[in-house]
């Protein structure tokens, strides 16, 4: 028997209308890296939240080191020795690293920052992480903030560290460093539970992996015993195509021509410092880069909500810089924003209303300032069917849809006008494999139809999979332009980090 540190036995957790965890049982061994693999909605995060005291299971028990675990709050979990780093950091940006670590330690009224700083410094030195303990957390990069989160948790002396999708925000090099240090921590006796839906990471890092699908455990396997295809099949429940059939793209005339645009950054949205890029009809240009290097500013400039201080943007030869977002969209520019909830949808509208957002004034959907309700309803039904939007009805509040279906609402809306240019910013972020596959397929269909597609993404696999050309953005400029055939992950990664010249 290998030493089990944490044992989950028959845990069931129900939410209204759905069983998030259905009699889940698994063993976590002391000193292993154990991946929880599954699509969104498989119940990974719910399970982790149960281990971390956020939720209580409706049925079943969790046993830590042979003792029944009764967790009411995350605080209980930390006291018991289980820590978790969420996808969304829980840090206070204006405070220093040391102060952020101290926040959670309600041990005494007396704050001994010097002591904390010393211990933290040692931690950082030990693992070769270069962060100034007195730096303001808001000024650190996302990768560095993640380290603060991890060390904050370790500072409490936890034995089991749960990480929820930790690589989502990192460059390939950042991922490598994270993995290197996680392995070392494991070797020193820490037990690590890593939640992910990325198969490659599982293969690379984990000792064992438990696959969840639709709330149930599909199985727990030793990573060395399986191939990546096996895991994919376990996770999705069917064969997965990792390669899209690529028609040879036949790019034609340029549709989007961006020349030397400059935008001053407003509060960390990233500046543009002379960016130029061209996207032709019938091609996908993948714009790779670490977030914060100007992708947001570029997106805003293309859709017209922000105006460059210098340079020009032309769509089919028409200068769009002086045009309003509405005029630009009428030139045939469709956009899929990175933050679909904040920038793309009215969560309190119903699905129908969201499907015409932005086109509600077109002659198809309105007449003399009145909404054509029949035309709108018909279009909504058509879109829901055509894009397989899973919703009980067209009048369903948008708020109730899942992430994948929210994205389908946006895609249906944006593609319905048969755009000349489609700007897709992180179009599959947070989506599960099936939904991502669907979105990617639609993007390629748009290309094949003759649209110009600009894919802004931080997911390099996605960039390689879909792009006819790849451009890398760093510090507000395009630093590299290449093709998937000529490039490899490493060189792109280096350009993303600004190493290329």
């Amino acid at each position: 028997m290998t030493d089990s540190i944490l044992s989950v036995q028959g845990v069931t957790k129900r939410f209204p209308g759905v069983v998030a965890n259905d009699a889940v049982s698994l063993e976590i061994r002391r000193g292993e890296i154990h991946c929880l693999l599954g699509e969104n909605g498989a119940g990974k995060t719910t399970l982790a939240d149960i281990l971390y005291g956020v939720y209580r299971p409706d049925e079943g028990t969790v046993i830590l080191k042979g003792r029944n675990l009764e967790l009411h709050t995350p605080h209980d979990a930390i006291k018991a020795g289980i820590g978790m780093v969420h996808q969304h950091f829980e840090l206070v940006p204006p405070m220093s690293v040391v102060e952020n670590v101290v926040i959670g330690t309600s041990a005494s009224q007396w704050l001994d920052l010097t002591e904390v700083r010393k211990r933290l410094g040692k931690f950082f030195d030990n693992y070769d992480v270069r962060i100034d303990p007195d730096a303001e957390v808001g000024r650190l990069s996302v990768g560095e903030q993640q380290w603060v989160e991890i060390f904050k948790t370790l500072y409490f002396g936890v034995e089991v560290l749960i990480l929820d999708e930790p690589t989502a925000v990192l460059t390939p090099q950042g991922v490598e460093e994270l993995f290197r240090i996680l392995r070392r921590m494991r070797d020193e006796g820490l037990t690590i539970v890593l939640i992910t839906h990325k198969l490659k990471e599982v293969m690379e890092l984990s000792d064992r992996v438990t696959v969840l699908r639709l709330g149930k455990v599909v199985g727990t396997v030793n990573t060395v015993d399986v191939e990546i295809d096996d895991l994919a099949r376990m996770m999705v429940g069917r064969e997965v195509l990792f390669q899209f059939k690529r028609r040879r793209s036949a790019p034609e005339d340029p549709i989007l021509e961006v020349e030397d645009i400059h935008i001053e950054s407003v509060t960390g949205r990233g500046s543009l410092k002379g960016l130029s890029i061209t996207v032709r009809s019938g091609e996908v240009v993948g714009l790779a880069g670490v977030s914060g290097n100007g992708q947001n500013a570029l997106f805003d400039a293309l859709v017209g909500v922000d105006k460059p201080a210098g340079g020009s943007i032309r769509i089919d030869g028409v200068d769009t810089v002086p045009l309003s977002p509405n005029r630009i969209s009428r030139l045939g520019v469709a956009s899929v924003p990175a933050d679909r909830i904040a920038q793309g949808l009215m969560m309190d509208f119903n699905v129908t209303e969201n499907l015409v957002l932005g086109r509600h004034r077109s002659s198809r959907f309105s007449y003399a300032g009145l909404l054509r309700r029949k035309a709108i309803d018909a279009f909504a039904e058509e879109s829901i069917a055509g894009f397989d939007i899973r919703t009980p009805s067209a009048s369903q509040p948008t708020r109730t849809l899942s992430g994948g279906n929210l994205q389908k609402v946006i895609m249906a809306r944006e593609l319905s006008g048969r755009p000349r240019l489609l700007v897709a910013h992180q179009p599959t972020r947070g989506l599960d494999i099936s939904a991502s596959e669907y979105v990617r397929r639609r993007l390629l269909e748009e290309r094949d139809r003759g649209a110009a597609v600009l894919l802004i993404s931080e997911d390099l696999d996605e960039i390689f999979q879909l792009s006819d050309r790849i451009a890398v953005i760093f510090d507000g400029r395009i630093v590299t332009t290449t093709t998937p055939a000529q490039a490899d992950l490493e060189s792109i990664g280096l350009s993303m980090a600004g190493a290329a010249t």
Binding site: V18, A20, D58, P325, D339, I341, G344, G358, L406, A435
Partner: protein, 391 residues
């Protein structure tokens, strides 16, 4: 990433909804969105349905009544007798019921004014000032062209009232669009400005000849809004208010502008990204809101007071804000809420007369109701569930 939101309005909180049928929702906002005490857990609802809102609203009203009853009791009076007197004064007879509608008339209009603006997320707190601007527009037309053929005069007076309210509201609207000025502050301050302008006019150019009062002369009878029935003050203004509510409902639900107003109120960032002209819609919203408040002024002047005095308003603009919130910004709900508040105002006189409880208690009722309704509207987004204990 949190996009900046105009008007300092915060994006509605997404909470941590339970997973949908297919996948987990896009956002997981961390662990702290539900909390528990003992065997009960308080959780956020994914969808707040009308019945949840009604239940919360009903609970709020019951609690408000209990609190007020406690206050009355503390004054040494009988709560039941007081409420009976209040009810009697509001609905006890045909006359009192009609008088309740008289009180409700301007409240419907200012309630609509607030509801339209709030729908767009534009916090126009200036209905009181726009109400005065409407009165001034009305009086100006009457003063200049009072001898015109009455139907034409009425049209002109109402148009002038709407323009007055609109112009006054557009000052704050323009400041918001152009300089991002906080509308709450600008509209409240403009309330005072117009009050002093009016006071100046009432003590000067518009003052009735040979009086010391700050008021105009009485209007001629032909310029009064006709009354429906003898023995009641109920006038055509009530019909105007009902029609206005229907028009606002239609505007919000059926027109592209109404669609944009709602969109702006829900998510101004996405509205901007999807090409809605945020500045234009904001200005138009303020214009409509101001026009409604201005018409409320004309209705009060022409239907009830027949002369301009500072006392006409009596907080009608502010009460409209409470009404809009209690009605959850629904134009038809505004009618119901306005009648309820009109009943309070009307019934309180009878209550004071019969039981000696000061009329000012109505202000307490209004305040308590508003506070509780706001709490209820937040509370209706949550639910309490029993958690099975285990282990």
């Amino acid at each position: 990433m949190n996009g900046e939101v105009m008007n300092g309005e915060v994006m509605p909180d997404e909470g941590r909804p339970p997973p949908g049928p297919m996948e987990e929702p896009l956002r997981s906002d961390g662990p702290s969105k539900s909390f528990r005490t003992g065997a009960w857990r308080v959780e956020k609802r994914l969808v707040v349905r009308p019945r949840h809102e009604f239940a919360a609203l009903a609970a709020a009203l019951v609690v408000a009544i209990l609190i007020v009853a406690g206050l009355v009791n503390a004054l040494g009076k009988s709560p039941t007798a007081s409420f009976a007197a209040l009810y009697d004064g509001a609905f006890g007879s045909r006359e009192s019921a009609l008088e309740t509608l008289v009180q409700a008339t301007p409240l419907i209009l200012t309630g609509l004014a607030a509801a339209v603006a709030f729908r767009a997320g534009v916090w126009n707190i200036g209905a009181e000032g726009q109400f005065f601007a409407g009165i001034m527009g009305t009086w100006f037309v009457y003063d200049q062209w009072g001898s015109l053929w009455p139907p034409l005069l009425f049209v002109l007076m109402f148009v002038a009232a709407a323009i007055g309210g609109t112009l006054w509201a557009m000052i704050a609207g323009g400041l918001l669009v152009r300089y991002r000025t906080n509308v709450i502050l600008s509209t409240v301050m403009l309330n005072f400005v117009i009050l002093y302008v009016l006071s100046y006019l009432l003590g000067g150019p518009w003052q009735a000849p040979n009086t010391f009062y700050y008021q105009t002369a009485r209007m001629v009878d032909s310029a009064f809004l006709p009354r429906f029935l003898t023995g009641s003050r109920l006038h055509w203004g009530f019909a105007i208010a009902i029609v206005a509510a229907a028009v606002v409902y239609w505007l919000i639900r059926r027109t592209t502008l109404g669609y944009e107003i709602r969109a702006l109120g829900i998510n101004s960032v996405a509205a901007r990204y999807k090409g809605i002209r945020v500045g234009t819609v904001t200005l138009l919203t303020m214009a409509i809101s101001g026009a409604l408040a201005g018409i409320a002024g004309a209705v009060e002047l022409l239907g009830i007071h027949h002369r301009v005095q500072v006392e006409i308003a009596e907080g009608i603009g502010f009460t409209g804000i409470i009404i809009a919130l209690v009605a959850r910004l629904h134009p038809l709900g505004v009618i119901v809420a306005a009648i309820a508040f009109g009943a309070l105002v009307n019934g309180s006189t009878a209550m004071q007369y019969q039981t000696g409880i000061p009329k000012a208690l109505v202000l307490v009722i209004e305040g308590t109701t508003l506070a509780l309704v706001l709490i209820a509207s937040v509370a209706s987004r949550y639910r309490v569930r029993r958690v099975k204990s285990h282990g």
